[in-house]
Symmetry: C3
Subunit: 402 residues, 3 copies
Amino acid sequence: MWGCVTDFFTYETTKSVVVKSWSVGIINRIVQGFIIAYFVGWVFIHEKAYQVIDTGIESSVMTKVKGFGYHHGRVMDVADYVYPPQGAGVFCIITKLIITENQYQGRCAETIRKFNCSTDKDCQKHFDSILTNGAVTGTCLQDSGMCEIDGWCPAEDDDVQVAPMLDVENFTIFIKNSIRFPLFNVTRGNFPSTMTAAEIKRCTYHPEDRPFCPIFRVSDILNYTGQTVQSLAEKGGEIGINIQWKCNLDLNIKHCVPHYSFTRLDAPFEKNAISKGYNFRFAKYFKTENGTEFRTLHKAYAIRFDVMVTGNAGKFDTIPTLINLVAAFTSIGLGTVLCDIILLNFLKGADQYKAKKFEEVSDAQIEASLTQSPGSQLSLKPGIKSSYDSGAISLTTSDQAM
Amino acid sequence: MWGCVTDFFTYETTKSVVVKSWSVGIINRIVQGFIIAYFVGWVFIHEKAYQVIDTGIESSVMTKVKGFGYHHGRVMDVADYVYPPQGAGVFCIITKLIITENQYQGRCAETIRKFNCSTDKDCQKHFDSILTNGAVTGTCLQDSGMCEIDGWCPAEDDDVQVAPMLDVENFTIFIKNSIRFPLFNVTRGNFPSTMTAAEIKRCTYHPEDRPFCPIFRVSDILNYTGQTVQSLAEKGGEIGINIQWKCNLDLNIKHCVPHYSFTRLDAPFEKNAISKGYNFRFAKYFKTENGTEFRTLHKAYAIRFDVMVTGNAGKFDTIPTLINLVAAFTSIGLGTVLCDIILLNFLKGADQYKAKKFEEVSDAQIEASLTQSPGSQLSLKPGIKSSYDSGAISLTTSDQAM
Amino acid sequence: MWGCVTDFFTYETTKSVVVKSWSVGIINRIVQGFIIAYFVGWVFIHEKAYQVIDTGIESSVMTKVKGFGYHHGRVMDVADYVYPPQGAGVFCIITKLIITENQYQGRCAETIRKFNCSTDKDCQKHFDSILTNGAVTGTCLQDSGMCEIDGWCPAEDDDVQVAPMLDVENFTIFIKNSIRFPLFNVTRGNFPSTMTAAEIKRCTYHPEDRPFCPIFRVSDILNYTGQTVQSLAEKGGEIGINIQWKCNLDLNIKHCVPHYSFTRLDAPFEKNAISKGYNFRFAKYFKTENGTEFRTLHKAYAIRFDVMVTGNAGKFDTIPTLINLVAAFTSIGLGTVLCDIILLNFLKGADQYKAKKFEEVSDAQIEASLTQSPGSQLSLKPGIKSSYDSGAISLTTSDQAM
């Protein structure tokens, strides 16, 4: 029993060969130096491996657009051109409207060129088309030379030229973004609480001069993405406003600030022949005195803004620090692999080094010693102790085999 | 000083025992072969451990529905049945409307069965109910046998049979999805830029034949999820359109393409007795000539489509490649653990192998040599060099202890 | 050829020194014990390193608000105060409305104090202001002492006192959340399928008593976040409803249940002087008999609810189990680093231990043996075999160097 305990509290360490050779010694230390430099410089300082990272950022975005412009000879204000109105992270600013007023349910001529006709037959082949403005009745209206449809009449004709509302470039967007890192229970807002109401009202975002001002001019945003107001207002488009939070919570919390960047989101489709820009249709509904519903159809070309919030936060924690320290210590030993290859193959006296490093024992020896006196003291002659090869590290084995 | 430098530039390598035994040798190589195969086959080829991965995909979705259908004897087009209209990634197609026209603020009879009454007392117990269509006044209206409410009148009666708009199955959904991997600054669209306008207009998505066509028929989508138009149009439901981007940026960028899949999102509630389907209420507001506001209340049953974009991109990078190569090299050495257990316990001549592998040194010996002549040459007899046990690897230690 | 094969099937294991010393032995076992405890307790049991984790949770949220309240002497129901109406995961409950009725396009006096005037010049300096309710014409209206604007008239005056709709505290929010873990193809709903319709209709969420009831009272939610109905209804605000799914799929699937938590999202801005609360503007459009469009502008103060779904699921998998077992086995060996430092530096007889652990071979010896008889048996005298230092582990090297 006591022997068992004695045997348990032993310590086993590898027997090592210390090679006092300048060439391998220097290579060994250089390799170890590289490994240490990698861990200190890259893993610990650059990648901050001593931190635990929270990537599950919770974010809430509120936006508010200000400004007004002239369109169709009328003043459009926020309630007219922002859709949806509730100030979400994704919203559109309508820059051009094609308005079809006073549509009633009924029958009228199609306006899309493709559906012209000379006889009813021309129309009947379009019976199951869904590209019309309403259900094709199968009648060809002779006075217009177009097929008759059943639906909201008169049908929309979106092939008209309307000047877009270029005033959009003077509009400003106020973005209120609050984030939370649930792991550390840290909440932050996108502008410092020291900013006074007056400061916020006056300022406009500028990447260098006023990087924390939460008010953005539309023309500035378009400039940062390399777009012009003219092209976007005419055809519509999608702009991404990316708010990036990279927080090192080991530093003062006031260094945890947002960084803004801007991209045109529909850029991959610029080369496409179809579906450039961004537009959608909506209707306003009215009732006549006698209760008949009618509507005004709007085809809206709009600039859509997507506020996207990304980020992560890191804070010192013992667990990742320990894990990476262990990894570092283990890795320092890896220089041995390279040095062994050099020592045992390319150095003068490689065979002598092999003889020192490897001791050989073979089945034959074991059998021999067992037949002599099983359990007796092992008496291998020192002469056969040395092996010239390990098979794993030595590169040229076969010709050197005994 | 020079001695210090000399001592520093030394190289320390472990002293090894090479066992020339077929049984352990073969096991050793097989284990190493498995480890190499695991790293080459799984870690490097399958898991692509040589790549750095960007999971922070930025995505922008634009949708456009086309088609029209008959409902309540009227033609409904996009502006009527798509909500919200702005073509976002989440949108509803209204398939059934229960319309309550011309509601004015006032007092009228409740329509919900639960609030029937014979005396005012029956109603007064419902004073704080929020399940009514308006505030209970406490009066029982004798002609209808229902409690009187204060609110929009007449109250909605949603217990009516309305035929849903089954034409929805012919509608098409056009999805424009542009993504960006910020780490690599790669942007992609969900259809190739070589597709002409004519091709896009004509095509319909098919998993095998036209996997990159961005136009989806509603009936196809419902089929892929195993749903029928009838059930969904009647009760409403939620359909997920998942766009998955798995990009290997070491290959040509044109292989970075989307993969579509479809699921019914409210599937977990199919067994529930309550809240099947999907519906919501909205109102259109009107004014009479004399300025009184009235409204038309709509209870809309709709199919909601959620376009969800997921994905990641990988690209060769030296850092993860190095880390995993190091891990691979380290792991090859781990075969030793298994082989040592076999060698030192189960093999014929295990004791002899132990004698070769372990050298023993004990406190007693050290003490003895220290008392003889401290600092002198160590002269341990070779006979006591061998230990039969390491404690860590040998499984049956106690009975073999010296 | 045969020799080559024989050489290949060899097994190389490190030669070890077993130190039978109580002090180092105990330290060794304690360190190993800590490492094993860390892996078993933390890595495997707490962090569940034997599982593969799916963090790509797919979620779909449907909400439905119930209740009605009095505002401006009128009953407001769901269709009036919920925006957007389609029951998405993000929605607003309007608690206060500042209504500007019957706005027509035209010219009228500005209402914002800042734009008061005595002469036209006072107004002309505001020509490019975007903070007005319309375009400044440059005329000073003498009767009101304000600048004239061109836009929707009369201009909104939002500096009025309106009592908010405090009935909001009795409203209930029904949340239907279905999630899916694509990796395991597991779908779950946020209330058990065994819940009957009656049970769901009656219940209200309570963290301890009814944690799976999907119906939430607004006043409860505000309480959990430490807010009062009065302050939020007056100024508006943003409330986050976080649904967290942490599923261990090795257990019965019925343990995969949601956990709700509530936060005030705009908390970081509470100290800010500006932009407290949450409000937005929207308009209802009407037409007169002769076709002139007019509108009612609403400035809506609202409580915005963001239902945010997060979560992950884990399930046993052989790959991570193997990787972490290997890591555990490798790490057990790391105790050696600490023990070697103690053994070779601080223990009595450290030099003797060094002599046992390290064998020394130097360039000089190799050269000597090479000149004697190249390729002959190496005959290093045992006396020079021992080295007192490895350079890597020994802390006080120079003074002990030979």
